[in-house]
């Protein structure tokens, strides 16, 4: 994180001008309020996960705390398998989504004409259709292809969902990169692929990293597809978590404990990725 502090901060902010010196107190208060507001539900989740099964109904009452919930959850084989699967799916989906959208975004950025327009309309229109209309057909598609309840059966739909948003943002990255370098490379005898691969891609690495983190977090936390497209062979963490609390019974303390466990990898990814995200995400 030292990089952020060391980076030359540009004082372009509204708040900075508002609060050069005298209003520093107001600034600090605002910062604290924001922190509290955003952290409170997570803090509450952690607190809940530390309460006994009888204490979770009124979390704010009583003082008995325990780590048993974590022991109990981690002793369940399905939770461990789900952790592993969620990690694999998130990582694979990130790598593959970026792979296919980098080229697609590059195409949208560098070319004009009917093909890019058609492609853009396609991804835009299909992005707008709500999931209700197509999760069930999607379930049939994965069954027809015999990839239901497997890694591919969850990965490929995830990639499909990411294509629109990522292509759009990737286009932004490449728009911000001067194409003249690529033309120069092509004059020097580089093929189009060579120009894309050797010139444009290296310049887009910060953007790629930023998207990678967003993509990883999104997939890690995704629920609906995991619910519909997996069963017992490929348990996914969000589904396992949500199953602790359902219509016909609840283990609120175990759900919270699992959610806190799920928070840890996400936290690591975010903390380490933060600096890349901010630096890379430019549309």
């Amino acid at each position: 994180m030292t990089d952020i502090a060391a980076a030359p901060a540009r004082s372009v902010g509204f708040f900075f001008a508002l609060a050069p010196r005298g209003k520093a107190v107001f600034f600090a208060l605002a910062a604290t309020a924001v922190c509290l507001l955003f952290a409170f539900p997570v803090f509450w989740l952690i607190l809940t996960s530390l309460r006994t099964g009888t204490g979770v109904y009124y979390v704010h009452r009583g003082t008995e705390f325990t780590t048993d919930n974590f022991h109990e959850v981690l002793s369940q084989e399905i939770v461990l398998r789900a952790l592993f699967n969620s990690f694999m799916i998130s990582t694979l989906a990130t790598v593959l989504s970026l792979g296919v959208t980098a080229t697609s975004g590059y195409m949208l950025s560098r070319f004009k004409g009917p093909i890019p327009n058609a492609w853009f309309s396609l991804i835009y229109i299909f992005r707008c259709v709500p999931y209700v209309a197509w999760v069930l057909p999607l379930y049939f598609v994965t069954q027809k292809l015999h990839i239901f309840d497997s890694y591919w059966g969850l990965l490929l739909p995830h990639i499909a969902v990411h294509i629109c948003f990522f292509s759009w943002i990737m286009k932004g990255f490449f728009d911000g990169i001067d194409p003249s370098m690529e033309y120069a490379a092509m004059i020097d005898g580089c093929s189009r692929w060579g120009a894309f691969w050797r010139v444009a891609m290296p310049a887009a690495v910060p953007g790629l990293t930023a998207l990678a983190i967003l993509c990883w977090l999104y997939t890690w936390n995704e629920f609906l597809f995991a619910l519909i497209l997996t069963a017992h062979e490929t348990p996914i963490l969000t589904v396992v978590m949500a199953q602790f609390v359902h219509e016909l019974g609840m283990e609120w303390h175990l759900m919270s404990a699992t959610a806190v466990i799920a928070l840890v990898p996400a936290l690591i990814v975010t903390l380490f990725g933060q600096r890349y995200v901010i630096r890379g995400l430019r549309i």
């Binding site: 099964g53 009888t54 694979l92 069930l136 290296p202 690495v205 619910l227 017992h232 609840m250």
Partner: protein, 435 residues
């Protein structure tokens, strides 16, 4: 340049590594032996029933695979699987709500041994068009009126709506509990407040009252009974319980059974009514503060009725038609073994509060187990006035229309209740006829 190369190399290496290990995991999971897959919802009772089947499976060299699914998607997913003809499951959890929806897609189960020992009344939902049954019962699910034995002696337990209010208010005034009655009220929880009082007040949703024969209901054009006085009274009863007598929490119109159970299990309420299948949860020291303090009693009676009513349905297991004949046979043997497993069924009751599907066990169990005796007195000895659902395809839509009506009426002014009920009667009729 080198940065990119390293980045890409890293990505490719990760992808390949993960893909290979994923492949390994998948191939390991392939089973070779005889296998039966059971699609079910994770719940102590269902797991206890599966434990019985597992006993049989182990003894017969069959691998029993449990495929748990979330309740929220269970019916949708299984329905889609049944109609698409894929044989994903050899045995599935079955419920009276879907009895008629699935009848075409399920194997007849009359030849499963032990079916003759099952209670016939709750099987009404499961007959197919050839007059064959399509279910093997797993456990009875019955609405049960629970009270706190540490607050009330059995003879003090309310037997009428009026007493429910007065006893609640007394306990609240004495500072023993914060609330008298809590129960779920939102869609799919309607039974635990509105509906039990409706049946206990000699009323029903559609006319003719208590009719469950679809032909007769069709002949009566699915005329709702919701604006009848007997029904208006129960909506007013709940409006008063929440707003006038304050025996139920103000937020109750938004409660599902989880919220209601949480308050009851935290010891904040004296009464609740919920499926008996929660009895195990109430007595689980890991989750409940009222362990050993929960008693069961017959439903309190409304002003229009003389004796308590009850409902009595079952959860069951079913075999999809698409399953190959050999595995169908195997599944039937397994379910027969479950029906015949007396020790297992008694253990299921003791562990979870799920009443055994084998009726012959009941007298024996009632004699030796005081909880079962209490349940038998509270529910099974009372005659159900009707079934706790309707069994036509549009029933979910009717339920939703009813729920919307009731919540709207309870959220408004008391004097508007008749108007809201009259307005929504037409919506219920349209829901029932699919328009």
């Amino acid at each position: 340049m080198p940065e990119l190369k390293r980045f890409i190399r890293l990505c490719v290496a990760t992808a390949v590594g993960l893909a290979v290990s994923a492949g390994l995991v998948c191939t390991q999971a392939q089973a070779q032996e005889r296998e039966l897959k059971v699609g079910y919802m994770k719940n102590p009772i269902q797991d206890a029933s599966l434990d019985m089947m597992d006993k049989w499976a182990k003894a017969h060299g069959v691998k029993l695979t449990r495929v748990p699914m979330a309740y929220s998607v269970f019916m949708e997913k299984v329905t889609a699987t049944l109609t698409s003809g894929t044989d994903q499951f050899d045995v599935i959890w079955h419920n009276d709500d879907w009895g008629q929806l699935w009848k075409k897609w399920l194997e007849a189960t009359d030849d499963v041994k032990g079916m003759e020992n099952a209670d016939r009344w709750p099987l009404l939902a499961f007959w197919n068009d050839d007059k064959k049954l399509t279910v093997v019962p797993m456990a009875h699910t019955v609405g049960t009126f629970f009270y706190r034995t540490d607050l009330l002696k059995p003879e003090e337990v309310p037997t009428t709506f009026e007493q429910l209010i007065s006893v609640s208010q007394r306990l609240q005034k004495e500072g023993k509990v914060k609330w008298g009655y809590v129960g779920g009220m939102t869609m799919n929880n309607t039974w635990f407040s509105l509906w039990w009082t409706m049946w206990a007040n000699n009323c029903d949703i559609l006319k003719p009252l208590f009719e469950r024969d679809n032909d007769k209901l069709t002949a009566a054009k699915f005329e709702p009974a919701v604006s009848e006085p007997c029904h208006r009274e129960i909506v007013e009863f709940w409006w008063d319980a929440i707003n006038t007598h304050k025996i139920s929490p103000p937020g109750m119109t938004a409660y599902g059974r989880n919220e209601a159970n949480a308050i009851f299990m935290a010891g904040e309420a004296a009464f609740t009514l919920v499926d008996s299948t929660h009895f195990g949860e109430f007595n689980d020291p890991k989750r409940s503060k009222i362990v050993g303090k929960v008693g069961m009693a017959p439903f309190p009676v409304g002003p229009r009725a003389q004796k308590p009513t009850s409902w009595n349905e079952v959860w069951g297991w079913a075999i999809p038609k698409g399953v190959p004949a050999e595995r169908k046979q195997l599944a039937k043997e397994m379910l027969s073994a479950m029906m015949g497993d007396e020790a297992g069924q008694i253990e299921m009751w003791k562990k979870t509060g799920g009443p055994p599907p084998n009726l012959k066990l009941w007298p024996k169990l009632a004699a030796e187990d005081k909880d079962f005796a209490a349940l038998k007195h509270a529910v099974f000895d009372q005659t159900p006035i009707t079934h706790s659902a309707y069994y036509f395809a549009e029933w979910p839509a009717v339920h939703k229309a009813y729920s919307d009506m009731a919540i709207a009426a309870l959220s408004g002014k008391r004097e508007d209740i008749p108007k809201v009920l009259a307005e929504h009667a037409d919506k219920i009729r349209r829901a029932a006829t699919g328009n």
